[in-house]
Amino acid sequence: MGYQLTKTQMDELFRELSETYDLYAPVLMKGEGCFSETDVVRYGKVTSPDEIVWDRKSDYSYKETLLPINETLFYFTEDTASVPQGPKRDRLVFLRSCDLYGVKRLDEIYLKNGFSDYYYARIRERTKFVLMGCGTPCKSGFCVSMGTNRAENYDLYIKPDGELGYADCRCGELEEYFRKAGAVEARVVPDYAEENREQVTLPKKLSNESFTREIWNEYGARCIGCGRCNFVCPTCTCFTMQDVFYRDNEKAGERRRVWASCQVDGYTDIAGGISFRKTQGERFRFKVMHKIYDYEKRFGYPMCVGCGRCDDVCPEYISYSNCINRLAKEEEE
């Protein structure tokens, strides 16, 4: 059902929702950017629409609300192990269309790829998604090229508009909040991006032969292996394991899983001091091929949703979207 709300009703709606749900949304973290007096937009808990950054894509994706950067899997002592409790409350996660397609990728990896991951599943089950519109498409995204610009499987769509607010509710459980807030019914269609500044053509003939392309060496010479492109990506799903033995008593400790990056040293290290992808060029190749080739071969659609965050964050100004276009162009020639 669609609704129109006044500003006061919007505030009331958020207040009421916060009673039951934890609301996670893009928030401006002032002064927390890389450089002095620069900000970063990333996910935080909110209780009102004013705390949310509506007019700018978040620098870091919603991913951390479903897949914590550090997650303790269990605590252990000499002869026992215990699993920490999952989230105590249901949550609403505010995100864009491309990101909602990202959730499909996370689900594919963590729920449907052989078996369901206990830790991911228990957060995922308690999560509903609130779509944020893209009436003014972001500058770096290429959702239209990737077919991720029109996500319709949202639970709720919300759009603040000056003194008014609009919503489209597709989740029965959430309807009552609109009635409580006194919202009036209205026809509401989400703002979707119809066109992006960036357009991307996927190469169609990638194969193991593509491994030897010169292009990888070129990017390899530029990439510093910082991993930012992976950490901001809504679809990167890799983690590593850390066994921590507490310093005061090494007989107790915990096992954590922690985000990992295929660009950072150590990612392919295995017992015996072996490492598979040593050069930065090989790692960059792996990332790009994973996003637009390997994953698709297995699941039938590309992994990348075209949010453009990796382009925005790269300190070396490496544009992954440009790389893809170059690969496609090379095929033509």
């Binding site: 890389c34 450089f35 950067i69 910082c226 950490f231 850390q242 921590v244 922690v258 990056s261």
Partner: protein, 327 residues
Amino acid sequence: MGMDINTKKLKKNAFRVSKERGIGAARIRVPGGYLDAEILGMVQEISQTYGNGYVHLTTRQGFEIEGIRFEDMEAINKKLQPIIEKLEINQEEPGAGYPASGTRNISACIGNNVCPFANYNTAELAKKIEKKVFPNDLHFKIACTGCSNDCAKARMHDFGIIGMTMPQYDPSRCVSCQACIKGCRSLSVDALRMENYKIVRDTEKCIGCGVCITKCPTRALTRSKKKYYKLAIMGRTGKRNPRLGKDFLVWADEENIIKIILNTYRFVKEYISPNAPGGKEHIGYIIDRVGFEEYKKWALDGVELMPETILNDCIYWDGIHFDNQGK
């Protein structure tokens, strides 16, 4: 009629007596070295109208318009007025040019307007200090630099203000990539290590340069909300005993630093040598004579430091001694 000029007055008015008789130079201070490009056009006009068409970019970030004739000083002061106003220089008498030159232009590195290493807006602080201390005939040199790289050579000043930030660490965002450790090791002082996959900062070693923060890919490391500064004091160049300034305060705040500078003006007035040539004596030499303990008493008058500020109680300067070679 012979040329009769009060050179003392002229110098105070920010003109210079040059080696060529009857010819001087007009000096324009630009606090923080930060200016509206429009001023460049004004400088050009003065140079081409009254000077020899050449301008020296001074080491303290001003302009020195060469080849001006002393009889044009008044006309030049009129032309300087819009520059002085645009730069918001304190001035007692509009149209009369710069009111003093003893306290030198507050210079600054480019700071966080541009530089990724900088920890604050150096030009802004330079202007703020300029507002508090200028005009003054006493010979003070102050510089603001964005981080411990010290591109402004703040350590060669009476007061060198060096930007710092206190790294804030959120272990729940840390992915143990060690970019911060490598950054601190290769670009700074190697103050970080990993223990149990988390970062430990040696607070004694850390100089608050902020390199680790710029390297962190997840925002596990961020800048402190508070801005911090090092105050290095009594560095100098010169003929007798050039030396680098030493840290007086570390993890200090802006307000107290300004207080200390203002207190130092009072100290100098009290203790400056009556025989100082041109009424100018480097503060460092005064402190050498009077003793650091006495200086400290004056400098810290009314100063209440934050709990995290480190005050160095004893400072010994070294440097190169040309004044007592072989003694």
